[in-house]
Symmetry: D2
Subunit: 301 residues, 4 copies
């Protein structure tokens, strides 16, 4: 890290809350950034900050050394790659696509093939962190792909995150780590919610339980932050919507089945998310599985 980053011409596809915050940091780091989003009005903030707004993914990619994408799911990435005016059509030979999205292992493996057969480069670099961490350039980045490609992207990754982990030369390895991380977060939420429901119905204040736990063994952000969400029952607006959580658990499940790994906790979490979507609607945060746990225990919520 520490390396002086020369200004580069880059592209950025996907301007949701995460994408916008990341692209702004790339601009601030002195790079020339062409941005594209399916709904063009999302590009206004970037344009105001000096980005060029492209009409198509292809236009955002043409003549750029490196193009980032931060899209909502596998289908969105597929569409952006393959459409006639898409990324594959615009990306030059030798240029690099840095895929930040949380997508499936098989999709990442397939993306590699699509790029390689066109002489393009591809790495996966999904991130851990909420929009506020993205805005503060404090994301944790998990990168995988050929070392030379990650090296090439590293100055840019340094501009958007606090640390980059390299987890292998096959890009989908990074996606697997990201999906595993999301599984572990949701497992921690479910476990906490069960314990807090037990405490509350047994006459112990859940806040006290959480205080004891996070004082020692469980003194980590996942327990402190999601524990607070559960205590305060703050499930709307969603920071990470339950349907996205279900998507990730399904992607993790597909990877597990492909690798032939029984994952009983993961199986249970999928059911809990479906039940939560049934009962709470599609706009709730994924941590609302804790609401389902509480209601199923008869707690008045």
């Amino acid at each position: 890290m520490g390396r002086e980053a020369r200004a580069m011409r880059i592209g950025f596809l996907g301007l949701g809350r995460m994408g916008t915050a990341i692209a702004l940091n790339l601009l601030r780091a002195g790079h020339e950034v062409a941005v594209w989003n399916r709904s063009p009005d999302k590009a206004d903030a970037l344009a105001a900050a000096g980005a060029e707004v492209a009409a198509t993914p292809r236009a955002a990619a043409e003549g750029r050394e490196i193009v980032f994408s931060m899209l909502s799911d596998d289908a969105a990435l597929h569409a952006v790659l393959r459409r006639a005016d898409g990324l594959l059509a615009g990306l030059g030979e030798g240029a690099l696509h840095v895929s930040l999205s949380t997508i499936g292992v098989a999709t990442a493996d397939h993306a590699v093939d699509l790029h390689v057969e066109r002489g393009q480069h591809y790495i996966s670099a999904p991130v851990f962190g909420r929009p506020d961490a993205a805005a503060a350039a404090q994301l944790t980045i998990v990168a995988a792909g050929p070392a030379a490609d990650i090296d090439r992207a590293q100055p840019l990754l340094d501009a958007i995150g606090r640390r980059t982990f390299r987890v292998g030369t096959r890009p989908s390895a990074a996606n697997l780590v990201k999906l595993s991380g999301n599984f572990l977060i949701l497992a921690a939420i479910e476990a906490m919610a069960e314990a807090m429901a037990l405490a509350e119905k047994s006459g112990v204040a859940p806040a006290l339980l959480l205080e004891v736990l996070t004082d020692t063994h469980f003194n980590a952000p996942v327990y402190r932050n999601y524990g607070a969400l559960l205590l305060e029952q703050r499930f709307r607006p969603a920071a990470f919507a339950a349907p996205l959580g279900l998507k990730d658990m399904k992607l993790a499940g597909a990877a597990a089945e492909a690798a032939r790994v029984p994952m009983p906790f993961l199986a249970l979490l999928r059911e809990q998310l479906v039940e939560t979507l049934v009962k709470e609607g599609e706009d709730v945060d994924w941590s609302a599985i804790g609401l389902t746990v509480a209601r199923n225990a008869g707690l008045n919520r």
Copy 2:
């Protein structure tokens, strides 16, 4: 907590690894300690350090202000309380029993009744921490019972732990918190083991996965320490034997059923522990549920 502890005459029942370490710290703090253990040879270290060795629980309790017990399970506590030469027979009116054992909620509730009808006092004060933490007087103590009784014990608790949490006036509240904590630890182990098996079979080094996780969201002892155990496959000798883990999950399950709280993760953990005991034997650490996860994924262990 700064208070000067006057020397007290106390009793201590149960000299396993935890009990021995705790009793030694009470001796070192300047108290007169009478100790008892079912197998008397376990008392040698304490005798050498200046403890009086009692022949029966009753003898260890007579004339003592406060008596601690640290026993393996509910049945052991029941036996120590009720036998003719037992604790209830020896404890004076107004004297206090501090129960450090990890026992069930119903057992603690019943213990309160047995003491109250004899004019004796009872609090539950189970601890978090392994034998090394006990030896270093760094236990985390979860206490519940009448405030005046905990106040009375506090100087002694300060001599054996780093911090005491007070979680309610009904003693069994502390047992519930302890059982909930053990449930959460085992849930974290299961989740990590599933994710690590997925990583390993997908070509990602589990050590890398763990490094990423514990760098941020999961930067807590439970993930660092048990993660290391899983990586190194150190399941013997048991620091906390699987049958004790199963006992605790059953006690948590009994509390959940009594309070009418569905806990699907807990239910699954019980089955995983039974399967682990079937396959690995009774002498394995409870974290060996991770070994079961790995073997069920076809990993060569």
Copy 3:
């Protein structure tokens, strides 16, 4: 079984709906029956039919060759056996206790010891069948114990059931078979309820699904009868109350844990029953786990 049953002097303890129906059939078969129930008013129907009403279990047992018991749970049997004026005190040396109740394996094993040390005989003979089958003497009986003891009871068992299966010489074997049967029934209900919820929410009439299934592979009473209950949503009044179902699943779970057998379906059924009790109350039929399945799928019930 064709054998001519000579008239015997027998006792009968426990006059719930099942017990009453069974005892009436024993009377009708020409035997002299002394009956006892904790609430004496339940004995009126039997008295009217010619039974002698005893004031205590002991009185119902004294001077009787064979004494039946049909009690609600392990605690009730324990109380009836051990009280000062109880069954063990009244049963003569060489007399036989036929235990029809659905109790746990460990309780049955313990009951054997209590009888043997007094020179009394004990067999377990739990029954399959609802009160209407009991009234029609069409119960299916599962008996276990020494062959000579079952032989001795056989003429009486023939008077109350359609068929007796002998499943071993250790009495608790019969209890294990009964508990296994109840587990399988509840598993079938859960599976049907899940499939019917899937059908209903996918636009397929659950009645049609059930018709297809029971036409072939699933053409058995458990699917026809419970399928009809689920379709008609007849969960009250309870034919077999959910708390009794939970008791049986717990007894099966205790047997499974003692034998070290992981049973993941059983674990899940316990949680479903707890959730059902939370949501529907304690007076609902055990098949109302199907109501929980439907509600958790968002079906309007």
Copy 4:
């Protein structure tokens, strides 16, 4: 039924064990049948019986009133439909495609669209029954689609099955019923296997348990037949291979997720199948989840 079936010109795609047996019965009923299979050698038996062997799906469909397909999975159907020389290209306007395969709900819905936009007709008619039932024309057929289309196929369905159930006008309804049926079969196998492991480890002969159960409540083919398989441990050769079972559970799971129906038993069965595939290999019968249950209980298999 009973209706006289006039001879028709029909096509048949897919000559696995099931397809071959069914196509032979259509020939025997006097119809002119053109057959096609991906591996052409599988067509020999049909050719010997008088079928015309077509080189492509298109050739088997051209000029035929009704074309049946019996393919291994959704991908195979998709390929057969869409290839340049495929079924959609060959099927005439107004002609009917009867899809016998066990495929997913979404695939069937999509197939309808593909046919309708070409003026072709499509119904789903998956079957229950093993190859011997197919050979004996004793299949149970579950049909869905427009009534006129099913009417048109009915004489042919009568030639291959014992009974046709009509479960709706949307073809995928039949696929949902078939998937639900397979889910229920596997749930019954799992439940039986758990109970039999409990019996065996508790000293009760599993054969006796099975005899008791199938005498009454569980007197249905699914328990008798699969119970015998479990007792005899006949898991090879596979009558229905575990990977196909996993495929069906995944299709059921996709339908459940789309309809937002939590199905905890189904989730658990998927994990059991994955574990079974890991341990026993891909060539084992799906009922070998019972082998996994037994091994996890420590039974020597």
